[in-house]
């Protein structure tokens, strides 16, 4: 599939680079399918580029990259929407925080991470109704040696 994006130019995305959102992303009702575009340049950053509205792209980062203590307790309805079964590999569930840029810094939304089942590429923006989670958590890379071994 070819996506013509003002930011990335013409992007060729194979089926395994696409994700399908099973619920509306708040604020973007017309965007259900996205393609992964690696930012590269020696960063772990990745873009989610909208297939339906290619002018829309989200900058994302796995919370592991900056906050190994980001705990998740996935509710059953969410695993159901992602069609993840208890016999499936736990590693097929991946998390990505949407990043916002403000005053020359990057901030991660930890209230509403993107959860993806890598096996079937179903995705949901999970709104965690937990008052302690920050909407804008400053993103600072971790020392690779200090990474959580898990």
């Amino acid at each position: 599939m070819r996506i013509d994006s003002p930011r990335f130019g013409s992007v060729e995305a194979t089926e395994d680079q696409l994700v399908q959102f099973e619920r509306t992303i708040p604020g973007f009702p017309g965007c259900r399918r996205f393609a992964w575009v690696d930012h590269g340049r020696e960063t772990p950053l990745r873009w989610l580029l909208s297939v339906e509205q290619p002018e829309v792209a989200f900058l994302t980062l796995e919370p592991d990259q900056f906050l190994p203590s980001y705990d998740v307790d996935l509710p059953e309805w969410l695993l159901g929407v992602l069609e993840w079964k208890p016999t499936d590999d736990w590693n097929s569930i991946a998390f990505f925080a949407l990043l916002t840029s403000q005053d020359g810094e990057l901030f991660a939304n930890l209230v509403a991470p993107i959860v993806v089942n890598l096996r079937n590429r179903r995705a949901v923006q999970w709104i965690r109704d937990e008052p302690h989670l920050p909407l804008r958590h400053p993103v600072r890379p971790l020392d690779p040696e200090a990474r959580d071994p898990f």
């Binding site: 930011r7 619920r23 604020g27 950053l45 840029s101 990057l106 200090a146």
Partner: protein
């Protein structure tokens, strides 16, 4: 807009499979029990609006941004 009056324990049904029951009223607070199919998201209105706003901000604030220098700068002072 439809306006209804309900007592604690009574419900409102929306369509075939959404049911909202009043389970408690205390002073200025009302508690609901909501039954809806899992494909129907249910959120407190202000949380939903907050995420909507932040998602739009995430998309627009990075439209013209090259995050590489920000990431590299962060890497120079890595968290030990």
């Amino acid at each position: 807009m439809l306006v209804l009056t309900r007592k604690p324990g009574e419900s409102i049904r929306i369509g075939e499979d959404i049911s909202i029951r009043v389970i408690g009223v205390q002073r200025r607070q009302v508690r609901f029990a909501i039954d809806a199919p899992r494909e129907i998201p249910v959120h407190r209105e202000e949380i939903y609006e907050l995420i909507q706003k932040e998602n739009r901000e995430a998309a627009t604030s990075t439209t013209e941004l090259d995050p590489t220098p920000i990431w590299k700068r962060g890497n120079e002072g890595v968290t030990k």
